[in-house]
Amino acid sequence: MRVLIVEDDAVLRDGLRVGLGIGGFNTDAVETCEEADAVLKNHEFDALVLDLMLPDGSGLDVLKSMRERRDTTPVLLLTARDRVADRIVGLDAGADDYLGKPFDLDEVAARLRALLRRAAGRPGARLEWNGLSLDPAKQKVEQDGKPVHLSRREYAVLHTLMAHPGQILSRSRIEEKLYGWQEEVESNAIEVHIHHLRAKLGSDAIQTVRGIGYRLGGEM
């Protein structure tokens, strides 16, 4: 799950980037409104963690212009101003959730998962498909009740596919979800991860649709 962090404080930005990475998110981080606007226009994110006080303006402006572009990406506002009135302004501007500083890293992750679940219209926290069960909070996968051990990247690929059940996802779309824009991606990285996943989950767990991409095997 790819998350963009917009925060100007270097220590906090780095902490969120690394911390949410440990929590199973693929994170990118920027520090100004201008950068955030540019990145949001050119990349797709599953969620946005947005600070309100930025050096070149308010995070609310980033939020408003996103919503004007009909960008429905879930937004979690982080701010030092957490009076009720501030929260109302933030939520009315199009934010999906609000956290006052200082916050708990685990809570940020939990709220992001809740936002992603709501955005996908899923009722429960777990993602289920054909005997596969993925718990985003624990980053654990089970197949027919038995735990399956996956690497971080393998887990991320499976998470991406299970978040879009039945859909065919192109290789580049999966890459987008997995890697930050600064990261070098080897051309066959996704194929390698899919190969490993098939080895662990069974060869028909993931189907290759020639020339288009991948999807989960079997029917709902």
Binding site: L12, D14, V18, M53, K101
Partner: protein, 443 residues
Amino acid sequence: MPSISKRLFIILAVTTSLVWLSAVVWIYLSTRAEVERVLDARLMEAGRMVSSLIVSQEIVVDSTPSSTTGLPLRAYSTYDRQLSCQIWSLQGALIGRSDGAPDERLSEHADGFSETVIGGETWRVYAVTNEELGVRVLVGDSMWIRDRLVNDVIRGLLLPALLILPILGGLIWLSVRRGLEPLRKIAGDLETRHASDLSPIDGAATATEIAPVLHSLNGLFARVAGLRERERNFTAFAAHELRTPLAGLKTQAQVALASDDAAIRKQALSQIVIGVDRTSRLVRQLLDMSSLEAFDQVERKGSVRAGPVLRALAEELADPVREVTVEISPALDMLTVEIEPELFTLAARNLLENAVNHSPQSGVVRCRAAETGGIVIEDDGPGIPQEELPRITERFFRGRHKAAVGSGLGLAIVELALGRSGWQLQLFNRETGGLSAVIGVHA
């Protein structure tokens, strides 16, 4: 606690009583003199009258000393036995006397007025000698009567006064209370108002004497309210500004706790060190700011030699890791600036700190004397984007080219500190790159 109304009442009561008393004394003296004059005139008149009556034979003067003649002389019914008359022969025999007149001779003198004590009583006597008939007429009245007359007049004055004085006292008391009503109203206002209520007292209807007091009270209220407001803003700002670094510290600590990867943990811990440095600098600057703000109206005088201060700061602030050095021109050692030393150090520290923090690897920060008599501090950093220059000294404003440890307070502190001594800060982007900060006298 002395009460103004009590004081006023006592002053007014005492002075009124004194005026009354002196009036009474004056009336007593003048009445006494008048009574004396009138009664003396009457004595004289009576004496002459008796004498002339003897002359016209209307009174037969028996030459035998035993016979007595009553003289019914009554001036006022209330004052019985006012006048006594004796007629003596020149040989010294009592020829006649009025009712109630003493047997003893009233006076030994020949003519005019005299005073004699007879039987313990003082008499005022007028003597007329009638050489023709060989008699001397003595007319006298008792001084006691005169005293009584005067005393009656004074009593007539004092009795109503005794009645009136309490009433007067009551009136004075009421007037004082009414006169002090505006004061009592303000005191009541102040007493009933809540300790945190700093709204001005309504002085529209008050007396002109109290207006200055009210004015300065309201001024004080306004100053205290302003100070409190600033404190509140400042506390809110400080609390707000501390939240982000605290959030950073907590997040990094949680990263260090959650990760099994030694490299990630090490990195998180070094971020925590940076975060603590930044937070302690922020706290120090918040304290500087608050002490600068506490006495915002006071201009502080003093002067300091710029060179040594800058040299000491440079030694402390230079960054050997990034090989940033600070050069101080020798001319500054000769330069004395009219800035209170503590304020100058505060301003210089923040400017040098900014310059060092924004300098690139192996950058040089140069301090030199300005042609205008001030000090220039230059760095090789990225400067400040032109559109941010007007806002850069706002507190908590952090531009895009901020240093990792920047709090957004440094330049605000510099401006405040210099302003306290009547100096100002000017910032220019140098044409060759970097920022030039000029400490100069206010234009």
